[in-house]
């Protein structure tokens, strides 16, 4: 479903700090449909860069990224937008719409999909309740705490029942109780058939999952185990 082929990403050097940085180096792996994969690594290991490449926000410097056999490098803007709509992504920096309310932020994702009014009016409150934001529907993102913003980002990624979910540090701002709730939710969605990619540096969560773990160190894959542990 998602395939990285010898992907290297080099960011050009800035004037002040010398040489160009290779964030990912020669990364190859494949994620099959219905898998639950954790990609682990310290902060700065290149997890977010990986996420951005799957969504076509960043092109690899060398190598190729495929989504359902479509090389993202050659996909046109229309195809890229289709891919982005089919993925539910929880961004590490949330990427909320600041000028829209909590309700509208979630509804927007369904509106982009062209979903009907009735369905939106039913689904949005349901998802917000699931994630515990039903009292904040009319608030704007800046009126939410960090954890609440993160939960809104999660609600938004889940509302369309996407077949693929990418969660970039989805528990970074949550307390342990809420963290496990979220992970449990991801597991449930995966059981229902969705592909889940979890990018995290949370040892406990990964160890508890007992699923495939891809370990990134300094932009290289050093381990890829079917029932892995968090080992750095």
């Amino acid at each position: 479903m998602i395939k990285f082929e010898k992907v290297t990403k080099i960011y050009p050097a800035h004037f002040s700090n010398g040489s160009p940085t290779a964030v990912l180096q020669d990364v190859s792996f494949e994620i099959k449909e219905g898998e639950f994969v954790s990609i682990v690594g310290k902060s700065g290991a290149g997890k977010t860069t990986l996420t951005r490449m799957i969504l076509g926000l960043e092109d690899p410097t060398h190598g190729d990224v495929f989504f359902k056999n479509k090389n993202l490098r050659t996909a046109d803007s229309f195809e890229i937008q289709n891919i982005r709509r089919s993925i539910g992504c929880i961004y590490q920096d949330y990427k909320l719409l600041p000028a829209k309310t909590v309700y509208e932020n979630v509804a927007y994702i369904m509106e982009v999909e062209g979903k009907g009014y009735g369905k939106i009016e039913k689904e949005v409150p349901r998802v917000l309740e699931l994630i515990g934001l039903e009292d904040k529907m009319e608030n704007f993102p800046k009126e939410l705490s960090g954890g609440e913003q993160q939960r809104l980002a999660i609600a938004r990624a889940l509302v369309n029942n996407p077949k693929v979910i990418i969660a970039d540090e989805p528990t970074g701002n949550l307390d342990p109780y809420n963290s496990y709730e979220v992970i449990y939710m991801l597991e449930k969605i995966n059981k229902a058939g969705a592909t889940v990619i979890l990018l995290t540096h949370d040892r406990e969560i990964v160890n508890k999952l007992g699923k495939r773990v891809v370990t990134l160190v300094g932009g290289r894959i050093i381990r890829d185990e079917a029932e892995g542990k968090f080992m750095l």
Binding site: L57, S77, R85, A99, E104, V112, Y117
Partner: protein
């Protein structure tokens, strides 16, 4: 499709009402721009009126010598008609008709009648009354014909209803004012459009991150662009309504004042008789500038 459109419209109205400050600013600069264009339009009407007024006054009367034959005079008339076929009128007035006209005009004036009687003979000269179409070129053509040796020997004197150089001066002034006014107007309008563009850019700039987030969650270009463009159209439409009311009210209330300066020119009549053109210009300008500015600015941020 219909759902999408109504959504895009809803977003536009939402954004509009949530950003009242910037919306008002955009409408204000659009009003100024449209009013400038409207003023240019009225200015054009006034200058056209002025020119027609001057043009109506450019007549030439050629008085022939007492002994000039009627066929010679008619020959001059034909020559003028041949050289300037689009001349307004060339009227031959014989000695007798001139006398009749004089008597008719002064029939109540005993002194004049008596004086005329004392002269004994008909003192009037036969003449050609020439009304040009106001074009200085035509004016020159006519005076050239009258000066050629063939004809000038019959002519006693030529009377320009206004002095030729005055007429030419008036012409050059009106045409200069026209060109100058037009150029100045166009420059001002361009400046105003730039101000509108920048105000709308300001409005869209504040949504820069929002636009890229919309791209990231998979919205199509038109789904993102639509609300901004409709907002531009709403700015334009509101500005149009305001400008239309301002023009109607000021054309109505300024009309007596302007008529006092320019007798015969009624601004409100001019407004009424050009109302559809004005609506078209104001609406096209307001909505056009609003929409095009939004389109251009949003395009810049869609590249994600």
């Amino acid at each position: 499709m219909v759902t999408n459109f109504s959504r895009i419209f809803k977003f536009a109205v939402n954004d509009f009402s949530r950003n009242k400050g910037i919306s008002l600013a955009a409408i204000f600069v659009l009003v100024v721009t449209i009013m400038l264009v409207t003023w240019l339009f009225f200015f054009h009407g006034i200058s056209k009126f002025l020119i027609s007024q001057v043009q109506d006054r450019i007549d030439i009367t050629a008085y022939f010598k007492d002994d000039a034959q009627e066929q010679d005079i008619l020959g001059v008339k034909e020559e003028i008609l041949k050289l300037s076929p689009d001349i307004k009128a060339v009227e031959y007035v014989s000695k007798e008709r001139a006398m009749l006209a004089f008597n008719e005009k002064h029939k109540d004036n005993a002194v004049l009648a008596k004086a005329l009687e004392e002269v004994g003979t008909n003192p009037f000269l036969p003449s050609l009354n020439i009304t040009t179409n106001g074009d200085p070129v035509q004016f020159a053509e006519v005076s050239n014909v009258l000066q050629t040796a063939n004809f000038s020997k019959f002519i006693d004197k030529v009377d320009f209803s206004q002095k030729k150089d005055t007429i030419e001066k008036v012409f050059s002034i009106t045409s200069n004012i026209n060109t100058f006014g037009l150029i100045l107007g166009i420059i001002l309008v361009i400046l105003a459009i730039l101000v509108v563009f920048n105000t709308i850019k300001l409005a869209v700039d504040s949504s820069k991150d929002e636009i890229s987030t919309m791209r990231i969650v998979g919205a199509t270009d038109w789904f993102i662009r639509g609300p901004f463009i409709i907002q531009g159209a709403i700015y334009g439409f509101i500005a149009f309504v305001i400008c239309f009311l301002i023009s109607a009210v000021s054309a109505y209330f300024l009309s007596p004042k302007i008529s006092a300066v320019l007798p015969g020119f009624n601004t409100f009549d001019y407004f009424l008789s050009n109302i559809w053109i004005l609506v078209l210009i104001q609406l096209a300008f307001g909505a056009g500038v609003g929409i095009i500015s939004s389109f251009i600015v949003v395009r810049k941020y869609l590249d994600v």
